[in-house]
Point group: C2
Chain length 334, copies 2
């Protein structure tokens, strides 16, 4: 298989350009110049984020196909935009490529990036290719827009407000554990297979973020990149409150429960500590709860669950069978 | 020395935040949320670029101090903005940190990033920290603005136009060669020491890019990240022309000449092929030459030199002692 080291940088850029559609009119200068030039959003604020996927830290090439790696690198960035209530506009892609990366994998990775971006209305506007002496690094910058009074932040919540969670938790962590265990994905039962999809192909909750931001029913929001426990702590910390989750209320992914019981792990601990679900966690004042739920009905069948509340008492706790336990610490990067 | 692996991600983010000044009012939400929220430029276009510095590809930790690595990662991005005639506004920083990176180096790297950004009017608005299983990777996204009719691009030039180059060439390549040779920088003569500074601390030609873009005297511009030969080829290719450089006209850095002669290399070949000078190369129509030079007088003593021209005949050539030689190929990334 030919590797990227057999091509010149200009050849790789040319391959990449062929995979990107014609840019829309608001992109004045796209891929191929020193920088991209775009029309800024009008009457809206701009939202900027960057996040990277690094080989052997966030993914393994032996476990996950290049196309999925590219798609996920975009999704995790768009999830950050979703947590601000923003609509994606453009992305930039900075790749560090090991010399031995097959050209086919380069193409598939770029296809994954472009297709994930386009499916959420974002355009690949520019980027950079460099050689890596070690891991494959996929760094994405995402740029979106949000109306001024509709920005969701981490720090606007107050004690007494409810915590609402989209979708389910624990699935992605179970998917990663399944890949690490060397499970044959074709032989898995459907809920476990779905966990691998949750890990490899997270869906940024853009529509929900936007709808809830538009309803102005939530006082704060964060996405679940490092797990529910970590996200809830960060939301509470930024808002200067404590928090209490309800174990019985948690929407644990059925595959995560199955995996946890087979691995002899506590399903609740596993689900709240496990990262990469990329759901949204909202803080909702009691008097806005009906408006929040009404807005949520527009979120295309995505469930939302009240999982706890912020409280004045400091600390992060989970209630379970009538007693309080300290909330486990989430995934830590360093 | 404590390493970054001894700290939590939140500790590292806290250290980083302490090193960044109070954000200006147009940054609505800065470091610490899921994404940054900023006021977009008004009455101007937005310019977006991303570029990374990767350990053992673009720098070595044993040769270059962490502060300079951070500063250079910003400078190479701002150089791309300069080549578009843009003014910097904000940067995002995405770091992949080896576990053994000393915390002091982390601090110094961030100081280098913040200080380089601030000295050119850009604000560090957000970013991401991740662990690296291999090299230190410093990925920067830079965002600037430019007035609509003042954008400089690569593709607007025509055959017959002059090529003008800021500053000098070959210095950065000589600096890299000196570092690679293990030279004791304190013992070097001043012009050679300056070469190491050129390599480690390139100065983005922002004022020049802006002044020339404002004069509308140049039809095209590119920065010299991969050397003059590569930049001239790319400018000519994007404009559909050939090109001819004049060897005798080249402003070769005196340290580059000294290094080339000691290393028994041809100084012209060395200077045109050597990368990382981060000067600007402009295409200037003959009828706009006086306006270009008049504008350039506002560029604070930075010299500019006519080094050749674009021509209808295809190919990239350099004239020397009355005969034509093919232009050497510049630095290739892959």
């Amino acid at each position: 298989l030919p590797a990227v080291s057999s091509l010149r940088e200009s050849d790789l850029v040319a391959r990449l350009r062929r995979r990107v559609g014609t840019p829309p009119a608001w992109i004045t200068i796209g891929i191929g110049d020193d920088a991209a030039v775009v029309e800024p959003p009008r009457g809206a604020l701009e939202v900027l984020t960057t996040d990277s996927l690094i080989e052997d830290v966030h993914f393994r090439r032996a476990w996950t196909a290049a196309r999925a790696i590219g798609g996920k690198a975009v999704a995790v960035n768009l999830s950050d935009l979703a947590a601000m209530g923003a609509t994606p506009r453009a992305i930039l892609l900075s790749l560090a490529l090991p010399a031995d990366l097959p050209v086919d994998d380069f193409d598939a990775l770029v296809d994954g990036v472009v297709s994930a971006a386009e499916s959420h209305g974002a355009v690949l506007a520019g980027g950079n290719l460099a050689r890596s002496p070690g891991p494959l690094v996929v760094d994405v910058t995402a740029i979106g827009e949000v109306r001024r009074r509709r920005v969701l932040s981490r720090s606007g919540a107050r004690a007494g407000e409810y915590l609402y969670l989209t979708g389910s938790v624990g699935g992605a962590a179970a998917g990663l554990a399944l890949l690490a265990s060397g499970a044959d994905r074709e032989a898995l039962e459907p809920t476990l297979k779905e966990c691998i999809d949750r890990y490899e192909q997270p869906v940024p909750r853009l529509r929900c973020g936007r709808v809830v931001a538009g309803s102005r029913a939530a006082s704060g929001c964060i996405d679940l990149s490092d797990g529910l426990a970590s996200a809830a702590r960060q939301l509470a910390e930024a808002s200067g409150t404590g928090l209490l989750l309800e174990a019985e209320a948690l929407p644990i992914h059925p595959g995560a429960s199955t995996w946890a019981s087979r691995a002899d792990l506590d399903a609740v601990q596993f689900a709240v500590a496990g990262g990469e679900d990329y759901e949204l966690l909202f803080a909702v004042p009691a008097r806005r709860e009906r408006a929040f739920l009404a807005a949520f009905r527009r979120c295309r069948d995505l469930p939302v669950t009240r999982v706890g509340r912020l409280r004045a008492e400091p600390g992060a706790w989970i209630s379970r069978a009538g007693s309080l336990e300290p909330l486990p610490t989430g995934f830590e990067h360093f």
